[in-house]
Symmetry: C2
Subunit: 324 residues, 2 copies
């Protein structure tokens, strides 16, 4: 949520000289993305077009070796007409660069605004967009393992070193119940290339339609129904996780079903998948919470917001989730 | 350099409803300004025009009582055709608002890029723009005292509580010499409404011309030659203050002289004014340095970069500074 690596006007001019987009007309560091440095650059135009771009410098949390895969996925989806920002190629056809010691990429700018209190209509559009994304990856066959899948959760819980109760007295038992549930993880569900982090701040909406799906840096190959479950957990509760919104959930599921009809085994697995999704965000937030000083300028995300979702999903049925 | 007060899509929609600029098409938090929260908003357009705006929420460092004066100044300069972002009025004609508990203002967006290594030609354009700004304030007669003028420096030094040597062994003696010099502050120099903080990051350039003067939140009524001195200190040295660039300085002074011919008393006073300017930034940076944890995510600005300028000015003549 800040600029970690500064880029000067001279740095930018030298970088843009490798592209056919013209010169910088405007350049602002933007507070977006979890742990990368992002800038909004407007250029005067060239043979590759002008207009607006996002310049991203990848900071430490993104593994450099994964970047070609992420950029290929974004390019694949953009080329298929999905509202996904495509990486821009320089004059030599390269998308992945280095700038000020960091891997860097110039990416299309997409209009739209992220909602914080989504109406059911917005949730439905997100369901449609998620289904289209999964459908569009059918010929994107390069695999990438989910580094934050079920196998990662027990060691992640262990790294919290028995300190979960420092966050909330209920948290240790909830994590334990989540791990027990995930031990019966469904196998053999249909795979897709999934976003795996489709929270409201990673979706841009314009005139009620999805104008952008962004931040693909957790994308991987995994069960498509798990991505539905992640999106369900991200979109269908109040921020603190205390309230479930039935209409949003029904709309999200209906939108997805407009594009992809989930199989009976996938629908049956939705509660355990969603409990897993809620556990994944509970654990990563808890780990960050325990390892971020309370007075740091970074806003710590409350692990309990997802522990409460976890609790809800552990008692849920597919019907309660809006599955059909 | 970050967003301190979040603004959601719903907050923004409610805020923009008071204006005739249409609805938000895009909305990004930007890393700009010293201590305020800034957002770049693009709107669909209305009777007051559409396009791009900066939404600023004023944080604690800006005194709320001063905001009407700052906004009036910006509006005055913009109305005179200077490249200054004008505050946008809502349907009731108001520019100063409240949003999420903070004073807030919607401000015109100006294109351009801030340079970090200014060429002499850029310095000349900045001199011209500064002169035009001073000339344009001749009928902006509302006064505002300079809260960071010479009277503020001895108490500011005292608030560093004898800890200046923790920053650098040379710093206590340099500050002492700066305070002695400022004790002979010139009186009776021609006044203007001055920017008082015209660093390169507060100037936008486009096609070699000044397209924006921004961040007027230190503006005040003071000697116009002091503003020239501040700008000289900000533009004519290497970042660390170790190297003085003669050509940049000559170009800056020549640009200003194209618009306003400084009087002999002003030219004679340039070294003491510039030593004072360098002392002012040395002291505010030193105070911040001593009161910011070393591991904070905020980048501390090096007080020595301006202490070295102070040392240079204490031995300078008007001719060495490029004054004529």
């Amino acid at each position: 949520m800040a600029v970690y690596t500064p880029v000067s006007a001279d740095d930018l001019a030298a970088f843009l000289a490798g592209y056919d987009v013209g010169e910088a007309v405007s350049f602002k560091g933007i507070a977006e993305g979890v742990e990368n440095s992002n800038f909004l650059a407007e250029t005067s135009g060239g043979a590759s077009g002008g207009g607006r771009f996002i310049l991203t410098l990848y900071e430490k949390r993104v593994a450099e070796g994964d970047l070609p895969w992420f950029l290929a996925l974004m390019g694949h989806l953009a080329a298929k007409g999905l509202p996904v920002p495509g990486p821009v190629a320089d004059r030599q056809g390269r998308t992945l660069q280095r700038l000020n010691g960091r891997p860097a990429c110039l990416i299309e700018f997409l209009p739209g605004v992220s909602v914080t209190e989504p109406a059911p209509a917005a949730a439905r559009e997100v369901g449609v967009a998620l289904g289209r994304m999964h459908a569009a990856t059918i010929d994107f066959t390069a695999p990438r393992a989910n580094a934050l899948g079920p196998a990662a959760w027990p060691p992640l819980a262990a790294r919290c070193e028995g300190r979960l109760a420092e966050i909330d007295a209920d948290l240790p038992a909830l994590v334990e119940a989540g791990l027990s549930s995930a031990a019966h993880w469904p196998q053999g569900l249909p795979l897709a290339t999934i976003h795996a982090d489709l929270f409201p701040d990673n979706v841009l909406l314009l005139d009620g339609k999805v104008s952008g799906l962004i931040d693909f840096y957790f994308a991987c190959t995994d069960a498509r129904a798990y991505d539905v479950a992640v999106t369900h957990a991200a979109w269908c509760f109040s921020h603190d996780g205390r309230q479930f919104f039935t209409e949003r959930a029904a709309a999200l599921m209906a939108g997805y079903a407009d594009v992809i009809a989930l199989e009976p085994a996938e629908i049956a697995a939705l509660p355990v998948l969603a409990a897993g999704a809620a556990l994944r965000f509970t654990l990563t937030r808890a780990f960050d919470w325990l390892n971020t000083p309370a007075d740091a300028l970074v806003t710590r995300k409350d692990p309990m917001a997802f522990a409460r979702r976890l609790e809800w999903y552990l008692a849920a049925t597919p019907e309660m989730m809006g599955g059909r």
